[in-house]
Subunit: 122 residues, 2 copies
DNA sequence: TCTACATTTCGCCACTTAACGAATTATACT
DNA sequence: AGTATAATTCGTTAAGTGGCGAAATGTAGA
């Protein structure tokens, strides 16, 4: 029960649903997710940790960057039901659609260039 | 998005998951749900209203009793995924199993007798 | 080694949630 | 009409959540 409630709590937030939808296409660097959401890094990091604790996303560290992707557990038959439902329910959502557009622009420039630009702004 | 978050928030609580599991077999009177959960009637009523607002349960008034059941929306293909996942994930949960046992005893005596006994305790 | 920087952790604040009892509403029965 | 009672709404309180900036952590490159 505790495990299931951890998962449903993780899903009970619009920012975290946006993150999960962004990860539909594949893995993303934390900095890319931060850029799309336009929230404080610490806030996004907390959301990612909640998703990770619920075993909905996996983290992979590469150099100073951390990449996230939907977990293998999340793609298993049992949890696959949730994702199918979320994808189906949110595929026409405006926020999700604009996120996808923003994401496409960002993935084009690549992680290194994205962070370089980000550093210049400070 | 708002609608989906309303649903996931409704699912993000153990008491409400217990209620949904209790309603797997069919409709129940509010007083039966209150009896199984052993919480204040006002608390349970609030939970039921949250489930109702999320369109996960329907309410039917009969005399002074109110009967709840899983909503038809909830049984549609789209939301059916969630229920299937919940049922599958929780079928071996201890709390859910003891709830089922308690419920069986309570449904045997019937709603009128249950409320009569309840009144005598005061 | 020292610096830069991506990410996380921590501390704080505003807001929400879940619990209860008291008061209210609505229905059945006398 | 008046009473009893199932259920809900309201007000209050304690605990949890989501946001931020500051500080800490860890890694790449000078």
């Amino acid at each position: 029960m505790r495990e299931i409630v951890t998962i449903t709590k993780a899903l009970a937030n619009d920012v975290r649903l946006r993150i999960l939808m962004m990860l539909s296409e594949g893995e993303l660097c934390a900095c890319q997710i931060i850029e799309v959401l336009d929230l404080a890094p610490s806030t996004v990091s907390k959301h990612l940790s909640i998703l990770h604790q619920a075993r909905l996303v996996d983290a992979r560290k590469n150099g100073r960057w951390v990449y996230y992707q939907r977990s293998r557990i999340g793609t298993s038959p049992i949890n696959g039901d949730i994702f199918r439902w979320l994808r189906e329910s949110l595929k026409n959502d405006d926020q999700i659609k604009t996120d996808a557009v923003t994401l496409k622009k960002i993935t084009k420039i690549g992680v290194e260039e994205l962070c370089k630009r980000r550093a210049q702004k400070d």
